[in-house]
Symmetry: C2
Subunit: 142 residues, 2 copies
Amino acid sequence: MSPPERIRAAGLRRTPARIAVFGRLLANGRPYTHAELLADPELAGLDHVTLYRTLAALVDAELIHRVFGIDGVWRYGVQPAGGPGCPGNHVHFLCRSCGGMRCLYDSPMPRVPLPESTEVEGRHFLVYGRCAACVRAGEATA
Amino acid sequence: MSPPERIRAAGLRRTPARIAVFGRLLANGRPYTHAELLADPELAGLDHVTLYRTLAALVDAELIHRVFGIDGVWRYGVQPAGGPGCPGNHVHFLCRSCGGMRCLYDSPMPRVPLPESTEVEGRHFLVYGRCAACVRAGEATA
DNA sequence: CTTTACATGCAGGTGACTTTCAGATAGCCG
DNA sequence: CGGCTATCTGAAAGTCACCTGCATGTAAAG
């Protein structure tokens, strides 16, 4: 199913903004911030408020998921194939050097015992440090 | 060792602001936000920038730790007794109804396999939902 | 008590995100 | 194909957490 078809199947209007943003996220391979998407040449001219709302609509429709970085900025990435709708079903890694985030699809979210009658809505598990590329770049210049 | 002594032992000057803030965090029993601390009657009159810097100094000295909420706000809490300096050695719970955060000292941070030569600086594991008190309050009014 | 490195308070600024509202448009129906 | 309506878009302006620069104040060492 093509990106526009998936948008329509999720109950959303297939507007140019949504098709373009969803297409970029599909092509990226890793979660992107609002600012990274705005700077993307293929999304040039897109209003920043429209981008916020587009991302929110895609998250609501469960076409993408979002993860919080410890820098206070949300990242948006495509859902893993066949992944559950539950927010945060896998761990994420954030490089504090380049700011890039990676989905660790192979690391499912661990379960945690909680006090009686607590209601769990979701989990955020973020590992941060320096990615392999930045480590190598740092060694090269050091 | 009293709070002022612990501040001095950590290599910090024992100023009124640091003694008061560290004392409040010790008494609170759960992590507090910058805003919650500013609103605390015992910290009345404290400048908000000074509070930011005081918290940063206490974090650097490893007297307290800080955790990011999915609402984009840092919470500051005392270190668990004898806890390691490594940032984030236990899981946290955030109530999205009352905004309160709890340290789950009994849930150590799970280990996650990462790609070759990645450097890990720390981990943030946040479970969010509604705490037992808010669940009961909601049922009472519903 | 004097010195000085460090802490404080204030003014002002940054950046992510939201709200409001007028104008545009996707998709439905005939 | 053409009109209607709910919904989306874009621009201006606002909110909130947090940071920087600089002059003043103070803890602690000698």
